[in-house]
């Protein structure tokens, strides 16, 4: 899976979780950029990403990821 492919699939997940078709995520997107992205939605998002990519994200990575770019790094690392 390429980085671009990961972004396309991730964008779909974001739109579903936040119920917002206008969302387009980039490398630097953070919780500050998406209104409803609070600590609860963060876990919903992580679970939705796990379901989309069929692997578990370790808690250490869940609590330390700072932006969508880092989320994609994790997806590419775990999806190898």
């Amino acid at each position: 899976m390429t980085r671009e492919e990961a972004f396309v699939r991730l964008n779909k997940v974001f739109r579903e979780v936040f119920d917002d078709e206008s969302i387009t995520v980039g490398e630097a997107t953070t919780s500050e950029d998406i209104e409803d992205w609070d600590s609860f939605e963060h876990i919903n998002l992580v679970v939705a990403v796990e379901n989309e990519f069929s692997f578990k994200i370790p808690m250490g990575k869940v609590v330390t990821m700072k932006n969508v770019g880092e989320m994609v790094d994790i997806i590419l690392e775990l999806g190898k």
Partner: protein, 513 residues
């Protein structure tokens, strides 16, 4: 020794001189020595053993995890999980035995009523360690971070012990992560800016505590101590003054702590961000005791929400309710667990059944009412970004917080309920003042000092909101202005601070945890 005593400042002066004079590789040893001197002057000597035990559990767990984790086999992963659980449980048990006595005393009393043969347990006749709630949380965080692999375990026990016992944080935190305090082991160069910023922050903290908090504390505790004399509107005055007392007490101490650390070029995490500027209860808890909230979020809330039972509840809810409603159900459960743990950390039933229950309910009500509120403001054409609406929201948050603090001011759940009854009874006589302010041991001059203090707080809060730190703004001002402000603050603190003969400096409220 407290952080407002002269002995503490003498220790700081000697400490800074030695710290920067020593070879840089030995600076962390100096910090450890200073921490030990502070500890032995501030708490019973034997209680250092509890700190040592906590640090030892964490150290052994970290080293064992490092060895097991390197093997990478699933059997070893299980061993790592076992070590983590054991080390966390041992730390909680130690805290529970010494600081959580009210839980097992209440529990044994209830059991005694059901089974008369069951003994009524009493608190152990030994004191808990200084800052036990704070360092225990830090140690648990360290163990879990090692388990998650977000940090590399510390292989030097004394270095880890410094992380646990670093002296400024032993009074009231903040609850730092290991990754935030790794700077303790680095080499630090003397910087005039650190010295100025640290000293300024300490002065501001002492001003908050000795000039404002202790004065407001006289009024609040005076009213609650004798509600028979101070009836009418007075109990409600105490309710709405208490947040001012606890904020200036806790954040004042935090300023002293962070300022002290800054003198050594150690930058600790902030615990407050203008909490009374919060427009909602949710926002308030992101601005108040930030490090406890962040700790509970990472080590309790996230793991609970990602646990199998909660995920199953979420799945079940999605089948039976709309998408929006289904989302609320695991959130409700997750928040309930989070608030239970926060109440438990405070170490008493009144915190769980009173403070935590109140704020959890308020959070749930505000979350559930949010769509309704949105519709109502739209229909009534209310500009939600207008100054008056923002002010209304801030006052509403202040009122909600003040009411929750009623359980904080009492020393037991029974007394809290008495306070609630007093407040309900006083609702019918809100226009009358029974008892005079002089009877509380404060003069009208004290009231003026409080008013001036609050004005200073508001100005600093506005500057902080605008510039990140009020001192960032101050730095841009001309030298005579800066010196006038700091000298004035120093003189007011010396003249109006409640210390010395005839005064009894009150303990920091959060010191008990």
């Amino acid at each position: 020794m407290t952080v407002t005593s002269l002995g503490y400042y003498a220790l700081l002066l000697v400490g800074i001189a030695l710290y920067y004079a020593l070879p840089k590789q030995g600076q962390w040893v100096m910090l450890l020595l200073l921490s030990m001197v502070f500890y032995f002057c501030a708490a019973p000597a034997y209680t250092i053993l509890f700190l040592l035990a906590s640090a030892f559990f964490a150290y052994v767990a970290g080293i064992a995890m490092d060895r097991e984790g390197a093997n990478g086999l699933s059997a070893h992963r299980k061993a790592v999980a076992g070590i983590t659980v054991a080390a966390v449980v041992l730390n909680i048990l130690l805290w529970f035995l010494l600081k959580g006595s009210s839980f097992w005393m209440v529990g044994s009393r209830l059991l005694h009523r059901l089974i008369p043969a069951f003994p009524q347990l009493r608190a152990l006749p030994i004191a808990g360690a200084l800052g036990m709630g704070y360092y225990t949380a830090q140690v648990i965080g360290y163990i879990i971070d090692c388990y998650w692999g977000t940090i590399k375990p510390q292989r030097n026990f004394l270095k880890l012990f410094l992380f646990v016992s670093f002296f400024p944080q032993l009074t009231v935190g903040p609850i730092s992560r290991y990754s935030q305090l790794e700077c303790l082991y680095e080499r630090h160069r003397f910087s005039y800016q650190n010295l100025c910023f640290g000293a300024q922050r300490i002065l501001w903290g002492v001003f908050k505590k000795l000039v404002i908090s202790d004065r407001v504390g006289l009024i609040v505790s005076g009213i609650w101590a004798d509600t028979g004399t101070f009836g009418g509107v007075w109990p409600w005055v105490a309710v709405f003054l208490y947040p001012l007392q606890i904020y200036t007490d806790f954040s004042g101490c935090m300023d002293i702590v962070l300022g002290s650390a800054e003198l050594f070029d150690i930058h600790m995490p902030e615990n407050f961000k203008n909490p009374f500027f919060s427009r909602t209860v949710q926002e308030f808890w992101q601005r108040w005791h930030i490090t406890l909230g962040a700790w509970a979020k990472d080590y309790v809330y996230y793991p609970v929400l990602k646990s199998k039972p909660i995920l199953a509840i979420g799945k079940w809810a999605r089948k039976h309710f709309s998408k929006k409603t289904a989302k609320k159900i695991p959130w409700l459960v997750g928040m309930a667990v989070l608030w239970f743990v926060m109440g438990f950390w405070h170490g008493s039933m009144r915190h769980i059944a009173g403070v935590s229950a109140w704020f959890w309910t308020m959070l749930v009500v505000s979350e559930l009412c949010a769509p309704l509120m949105e519709k109502a403001t739209a229909r009534l054409h209310i500009d939600t970004e207008s100054t008056s609406w923002i002010l209304f929201q801030r006052v509403r948050t202040y009122v909600i917080y003040s009411l929750g603090c009623v359980f904080f001011t009492a020393d037991s759940l029974t007394h809290s309920i008495d306070h609630v009854k007093t407040l309900a009874g006083a609702l019918g006589s809100l226009t009358s003042f029974q008892g005079t302010i002089a009877g509380l041991g404060v003069t009208y001059a004290d009231i003026n000092v409080i008013i001036i203090g609050v004005l200073a707080l508001v100005i600093v809060a506005i500057l902080r909101e605008k510039y990140g730190y009020a001192r960032t703004w101050m730095q841009g001002q001309i030298l005579p202005f800066r010196w006038t402000v700091w000298l004035l603050l120093f003189i007011i603190t010396v003249l109006c601070g409640m210390y010395g003969p005839g005064f009894n400096a009150q303990d920091f409220i959060y010191e008990q945890f």
